[in-house]
Amino acid sequence: MTLAALRDVAVDYPRRGRALGPFSLEIAEGEITALVGASGCGKSTALRLLAGLETPTTGEAARDLRRGETSVVFQAPTLAPWLSAQANVALPLALAGLDAATTGARAAEALARVGLDGAQTARPAQLSGGMAMRVSLARALVTRPRLLLLDEPFAALDEIIRRDLADDVLRLWAASRPAIVFVTHSVEEAVYMASRVVVMTRGPGRLAADIPVEGPLPRPPGFRATAGFRSVVETVSAALARGLSA
């Protein structure tokens, strides 16, 4: 079933001109889609359209989602510095008007799921970059979303933490199977995490290629070393290169 769809959308900004499109993308339930493309090709714009945070200048952005069923994780953890980790995670529930006992319990549970059960009272400033990103992930998951949008969520972290977080996201995905759309600059990360890699041309971005990725999700150990993984990485890299020259 299609959760969200962009149909021939284009986005024009007053001074900068066209940022995206025409571009089409359908997101099915439970699917993990990676969006890759050069900087400024409109990947984040496409993500905001899917989130319903922006409306297209032309074309249609359709969403079969109710309020609270979409969550977004940004490149920075985007936590409120004055709130504890648990209160940050509880924020979406509190805004939805749930009572304090429910929000507290669900936030604590979400923190435990990302491996931060000891950090409920910690403030964002007391957390490492990786831990803060996990809190941000817990906040996105606490509403039990059907569509989870990740905008270059690990870009600011080092390689080891990135890989850990990629596995964490896949493990969390397996528990409730929301549709995930994530933007990344890393072809390997895209192929490792996604069941489908959508390659965009340089800006204003159009579709360059839509490449399926075979293999079980979450990924088994050693997946990065398999011939299948390497071959899809090559295919995506080639499509990206064609998209840049298109």
């Binding site: 309020r67 609270g68 400033a125």
Partner: protein, 255 residues
């Protein structure tokens, strides 16, 4: 060694300047009504300590009361501005006029309104006018300084105006609010002193009145003593507000 020297440097400079002042007064036989030596100022500080302290408390209490009044009014206005861009636009010129009009120019008018028998009311009102702007502008800037991605999350979760104000914008504004109050406290003392000067009667018992009174009697050492007290008062208030700001920021960011 170097750090000790850096710490002592300002005190050393003050001591040197005072010594030079003292020596110059004695060597040149400067009349005491024109420029009393620091020793005479010190003697006056000791002799007049009770009245100076009472006056300092008088000025300080007026300034603090004015700060409290300005804080409530400025934050209420900023909240209104935060809830509605129309309110913000409407308030902007008034806030700027209140800021750029010299307090000394409106003091006589406020004194008439407060009534000749109630100079304290006029002093508090004038000091509050001066203290209003830094708190208001800090609050308005702070209310707009929320992380744009957090704003997007609030959009995503369908937050209402009031939720956005109290759960996002107001807490985001805490650093600017603390800074605004620190600046406003210093200005409130200046405002109170200026208003006391304009009131210029025995009805106002603050430090400015001590300076005027001593000046009228050509007791220049007492004028200096009152000035020193005023300087110390300002410095102490600034140090206190700085501590409050630091503690507030620590509480806010948890660091």
């Amino acid at each position: 060694m170097r750090r000790a020297a850096e710490r002592l440097a300002p005190y050393l400079l003050i001591a040197l300047l005072l010594a030079a002042w003292e020596l110059a007064c004695r060597a040149l036989a400067v009349p005491a009504y024109f420029l009393p030596p620091p020793s005479a100022v010190a003697a006056s500080l000791v002799a007049d300590a009770p009245s100076l302290l009472a006056s300092a408390w008088n000025t300080l209490s007026m300034a603090l009361l004015a700060l409290a009044v300005a804080s409530v009014l400025a934050q209420a206005a900023a909240l209104g501005a935060g809830l509605s861009p129309i309110v913000e636009r409407a308030l902007r010129p008034l806030a700027v006029i209140a800021q750029v009009t010299p307090v000394v120019a409106i003091a006589p008018l406020v004194l008439i309104w407060a009534g000749i028998d109630h100079p304290q009311r006029a002093i508090v009102a004038l000091a509050a006018v001066v203290a209003f702007f830094p708190i208001y502008s800090g609050a308005v800037t702070g209310l707009k300084a929320a992380d744009p991605d957090l704003e997007r999350l609030f959009d995503l979760y369908g937050a209402g105006r009031v939720q956005r104000l109290f759960r996002l914008r107001l807490p985001s504004a805490v650093p600017q609010l603390l800074e605004g109050h620190k600046v406003a406290a210093g200005l409130a003392v200046i405002g109170a002193v200026v208003a006391e000067f304009v009131a210029g009667s025995g009805g106002a018992q603050g430090l400015a009145w001590r300076i005027l009174e001593a000046g009228n009697r050509l007791q220049t050492a007492r004028m200096f003593a009152a000035l020193v007290t005023l300087g110390l008062l300002g410095a102490a208030l600034h140090a206190l507000l700085e501590r409050i700001e630091r503690a507030g920021l620590k509480w806010w960011s948890g660091r």
